[in-house]
Amino acid sequence: MTHWPLLSLLVWLPILGGVFTMMAGNTRPQAARRIALGFAVATFLLCIPLFTGFDLASAGMQFVEQRSWIPAYDIQYHLGADGISLALVGLTTLTTVLVLIGAWGSVDKRVSQYYAAFLILEGLMIGVFSALDALLFYVFFEGMLIPMFIIIGVWGGPRRVYASVKFFLYTFLGSVFMLVGLVYLYLKGNSWQLADMAALPLTMTEQAWLFFAFLVAFAVKVPMFPVHTWLPDAHVEAPTGGSVILAAIMLKIGGYGFLRFVLPIVPDAGHHYAWLVITLSLIAVVYVGLVALVQEDMKKLIAYSSVSHMGFVTLGTFIAFALVRDASLQDAARLGLQGAMVQMISHGFISGAMFSCVGVLYDRMHSRMIKDYGGVANAMPWFAMFWVLFAMANSGLPGTSGFVGEFMVILAAFQANPLIAFAAAFTLVIGAGYTLWLTKRVIWGEVGNAHVAELEDINMREWIVLGVFAIGVILLGVWPKPLTDLMEPSIAQLASQLAATKL
């Protein structure tokens, strides 16, 4: 099985599926749905050999495929996966299947294109997580914009045009700076390979410039305060599936980019400017958390809570920068990185689940406003069960996945500076505040109005989607070891790269 080009299959199978789905045409929606789901499930199943064939002891890239692509510019088609990529690839394939199932009954406009867009997006995202050539990465990274732009713009809410264009331009602007940085690195080291870039010695000035080029690109994607403003718009206007993919996977690409580009390539600048990112992360965690508290739109609230939770990812990553040069704190640095990764996967499940829940309500009531709801638990008890579970996870309750990552990051932060840890821990209170208050207003209490009283509980299809998310949230909460084992060697290697200066 190992000589199969698994990663290539994972990238191209969904894209091929997208083409087939599109060919089914909008006039045959059911056929399009079936084809698309078939390809998505096949892609998901392809992950099984990927996980079983993975050597847990090795920190290096596995399933490597390397061949010349554009010899004129030394660009290579170079794919490979380590523990970090693998976890994210798994998350991507699973979430896509769930999104496609979730859309089964709720999307009936231009169905084939909707499904095709998600499949193509899936292929490109897997490409992002497995590309080892900087330009190949960039191609996948930018290529994602078009399908997402169309998803938001065609199937979105009333202000979809504004939101989609804002999304596109923000991300585009961020990433072009990275492109200039990559070109510079190529001219300097004559290679687009990430491994060669990581080995390239760079002066502090160069590193600083490159650091900011990367920071802009990935900070927009994560998104970090103050460039997060596209996210609430995009989330609110996007269709449910778009929100789920956006929150569960696309935001992770920012965090992944920090781990793949900033850590190994510009470790000294990262160390030097860690305070900046840590400050911004804390602002995101605390301030954006407070902003979430006052939202009246459920999706907007969850979007802000995403920004706040992703703040933990950047915090964990850059706490590691602050710690790693001190020999006695190596373990804490690793813990920070580990926590950031666990937080990414966990947030993938939780945010995906929360947006799916809002989608379930929206399909029935066509409103996202909190005030239109109240006492949903009376009409939809099963739904309420799931909602409360995800709400608990979102507020970081021990036993759910939300707790694990945040706890690890806070522990690591404590070693660096108890004040940082305190500020970060404060968010747990705010997080619990806005999530529980949201739950109180939507789920509990008296039945708000006649429409709520008529709500039907979730059907089979929604059961599957929410159930799978719930399993993920709980499993990761009580037994995170397989995930941490998977990523441990890669993270240890990253930490050692961080510790070595490139000056």
Binding site: I70, A72, Q113, F149, F168, V180, V183
Partner: protein
């Protein structure tokens, strides 16, 4: 005493073979067309297209061989071959696009393909020019044919106005170029570009030489449509019938690129320290003006005209970066832009009908609902123009970006990418109209013309195919400057 030039033998003229074939065929067609009636006129068109294709094949096959003939006036080298192949094929595609459009509007005259052929002959002379005279000859042959083509719809006031503006401003630019040439001639005592280059460092009056080069740069900028010499571009692109716009917006860029290389690099190479910054300035200005003004356009042809200005800015970025890699990048940009421009105006032609030009952005509203396939193709074209990977437009931007960074012009690279983001907005508007809006009023549906659809499909998907495998194209360009 009269200088005696030895009469060149026929074999010594062999590198001229493609030009001779093209010019000969153009004359022959001019005659043949006289004997054809309306119904048979398709023959002129088919023969013209075939001739252009044939000349392209001749060039690829390398018939006639490379070399320098006519006492150094005419140079056929790698660069010339590549650019000529590009010019021939793009012009052939332009003729195919033009056929149904012109026929429907009663504009179909035998002159159109013949003028296109002469224009291509002019481009080929320009591309191969080894002396100032040849540059000017080629340029004027191309320009005169272009003026006439723009005015081909003589009953249309906008087209006549466009042709008039084009002619007056073109004459002005030619005058500037000629003035620059005369100064350069005066300073170096030669019209031969290689000799100019050799004599330039020891010119008695460097100020005169530099002034001459500055005027030549202005002339080149005009031909490209670089800001601030871009005023003719929107009016001509807008006013001319769409297939003519397609033609003058695509292939002549290749000739203009060759003109820049011949005049500046081959001729004024030692003065690079002077003209590189000039080009960098023109590049920055074109990027900013082109992109910002394009934002405000509602007419697609005008928008594409301003977008041309910004693309020329990118192309100049490669030229300004300099060096073999920079010129190769600029050449790659010129070639890929020619293909993209053909596709973008081709989209308008595919959607237009008699009495409906489909040249407003609003005309594209709801196209996806009517015809997802065509909408998808236009999406490819717009994404490529915006520079989104994996389309060809991204890679050409990458190449010139690299050239600018390599040439130490990081500031220009940053201006370029910021403008690329601004530019993305107006291309997105077209995608938005097609996908997000519902059809309104008399909205465009594709024309029921198989040939046109196939050509457009190949053209648009070519942007994707070349985007995935552009190495041979780039290697070709690099070879030209190796």
């Amino acid at each position: 005493m009269q200088a005696t030039l030895p009469m060149p033998s026929a074999t010594a003229l062999l590198p001229l073979l493609p030009e001779l074939v093209l010019a000969g065929a153009a004359f022959a067609l001019l005659m043949i067309d006289l004997f054809l009636n309306e119904k048979q006129r398709v023959l002129t068109h088919v023969l013209a297209t075939c001739t252009l294709g044939l000349v392209g094949v001749l060039l690829i096959a390398g018939w006639g061989g490379q070399g320098t003939v006519l006492s150094g006036m005419f140079i056929r080298d790698n660069m010339a071959d590549v650019l000529k192949v590009g010019a021939c094929f793009v012009s052939a595609i332009a003729l195919v696009y033009a056929w149904p459009y012109l026929r429907e509007r009663g504009l179909y005259k035998g002159e159109v393909p013949v003028l296109v052929m002469f224009a291509v002959a002019g481009m080929m002379l320009l591309i191969s020019a080894g002396s100032l005279v040849m540059v000017y000859l080629g340029l004027e042959l191309l320009a005169l044919c272009s003026y006439a083509l723009v005015a081909i719809d003589r009953d249309s006031p906008t087209a006549s106005e466009a042709a008039m503006k084009y002619f007056v401003l073109g004459a002005l630019a030619s005058g500037m170029l000629l003035y620059g040439m005369s100064l350069v001639y005066g300073a170096t005592g030669s019209i031969d570009l290689a000799t100019i280059s050799a004599n330039a460092p020891m010119a008695a009056q460097p100020a005169m030489l530099i002034t001459g080069v500055a005027f030549m740069v202005a002339g080149i900028a005009f031909k490209f449509g670089a800001a601030p010499f871009h005023m003719w571009v929107p009016d001509v692109y807008h006013g001319a019938p769409t297939p003519i716009t397609l033609f003058i917006g695509s292939a002549p860029k290749l000739a203009a690129f060759a003109m820049a290389i011949r005049l500046l690099e081959v001729g004024a190479g030692p003065l690079g320290d002077y003209w590189h910054p000039m080009l960098a300035g023109l590049a920055a200005l074109s990027l900013v003006i082109g992109n910002l003004v394009a934002l405000a356009q509602t007419n697609l042809k005008r928008m594409l005209a301003y977008s041309t200005v910004s693309h020329v800015g990118f192309l100049f970025m490669g030229l300004a970066g300099g060096g073999a890699e920079g010129y190769a990048a600029a050449m790659f940009y010129a070639l890929s832009y020619a293909v993209m421009a053909a596709a973008s105006f081709g989209a308008i032609i595919v959607l237009s009908r008699r009495g409906f030009e489909a040249d407003r952005i609003d005309d594209f509203k709801g196209l996806n609902a009517r015809d997802p396939w065509t909408a998808g193709l236009v999406l490819c074209v717009m994404a490529s123009l915006a520079g989104v990977p994996p389309f060809l437009g991204f890679w050409s931007k990458l190449a010139v970006l690299r050239a600018a960074v390599e040439g130490g012009m990081l500031w220009l690279a940053i201006v370029g990418i910021v403008c690329a983001v601004i530019g993305a907005f107006y291309y997105l508007r077209v995608i938005k109209a097609m996908y997000f809006d519902e059809p309104a009023g008399e909205a465009a549906g594709p024309r029921d013309d198989r040939l046109l659809q196939v050509v457009f499909g190949v053209n648009a998907l070519g942007l994707l195919a070349f985007g995935l495998f552009w190495s041979p194209l780039m290697a070709w360009c690099q070879q030209a400057f190796a």
